[in-house]
């Protein structure tokens, strides 16, 4: 069965610190990978996505993620965090039917 695993469930960082959130997936076929973000009181928004091509993808607000096929990973990074990045982050992969399979989510708190 397809699955997504996020390594960190709760992360606390100070402003200007760098971020890396781990995500590994289990899926035998061609994958499309996503990071979604949910800011407090808001709905899920797409942060970035990988369909094909350059494995290093850039998203909104300075986020990027690297698809490493050999490691089944799609880690999210940002070099310098801001207080406004406080949110919950979800890694996801699509199945053959297009449904999203989500990881457990990471609650990220950035302290000013």
């Amino acid at each position: 069965a397809q699955s997504v695993s996020q390594h960190n469930h709760h992360v606390i960082l100070s402003e200007a610190a760098s971020l890396e959130l781990g995500c590994n997936y289990s899926y035998g076929g061609t994958v499309n990978l996503f990071w979604y973000v949910q800011y407090p009181g808001q709905h899920l928004q797409l942060l970035l996505k990988y369909f094909s091509g350059d494995p290093l993808v850039k998203g909104i607000k300075g986020f990027e993620a690297e698809f490493i096929k050999s490691k089944f990973s799609f880690n999210l990074r940002k070099p310098s965090m801001q207080w406004s990045d406080t949110a919950e982050y979800f890694c996801a992969v699509t199945s053959n039917t297009g449904k999203l399979i989500f990881g457990q989510g990471t609650t990220l708190q950035v302290k000013p």
Partner: protein, 116 residues
């Protein structure tokens, strides 16, 4: 343009009652998805519509849950004889292309269901 909308935004009901949750997808989006977000289970897929048909209902947790989509647009998720474990935020998402797997899904704000 307008995003995915859902109604009601909050619903409080008593155990055993039926509830209906509505989703209005982005205009022109052919695919529509329902998910559930709860504390213990995270984000779970419920059902997927392509047009008015539902080729994937594998995530519906029991036969108390059903959904329909009419006119290739609005969808309704119905929960019969609600139980306390049904309490969650129910999310709807839509995407443009029919192929499914490669499409970006856009989410609505959700309906928070509380079963007393």
């Amino acid at each position: 343009g307008a995003g995915v909308s859902q109604s009601p935004s909050n619903k409080v009901t008593e155990k055993g009652k039926d509830v209906e949750l509505r989703c209005d997808p982005i205009s022109g989006h052919t695919a529509l998805y329902w998910y559930r977000q709860s504390l213990g289970q995270g984000l779970e897929f419920l059902i997927y519509f392509q047009g008015n048909s539902a080729p994937d209902k594998s995530g519906l947790p029991s036969d108390r849950f059903s959904a329909e989509r009419t006119g290739g647009s609005v969808s309704t998720l119905t929960i019969q004889r609600t139980q306390q474990e049904d309490s969650a935020v129910y999310l709807c998402a839509s995407s443009f292309l029919s192929s499914g797997r490669s499409d970006t899904q856009y989410f609505g704000p959700g309906t928070r269901l509380t079963v007393l």
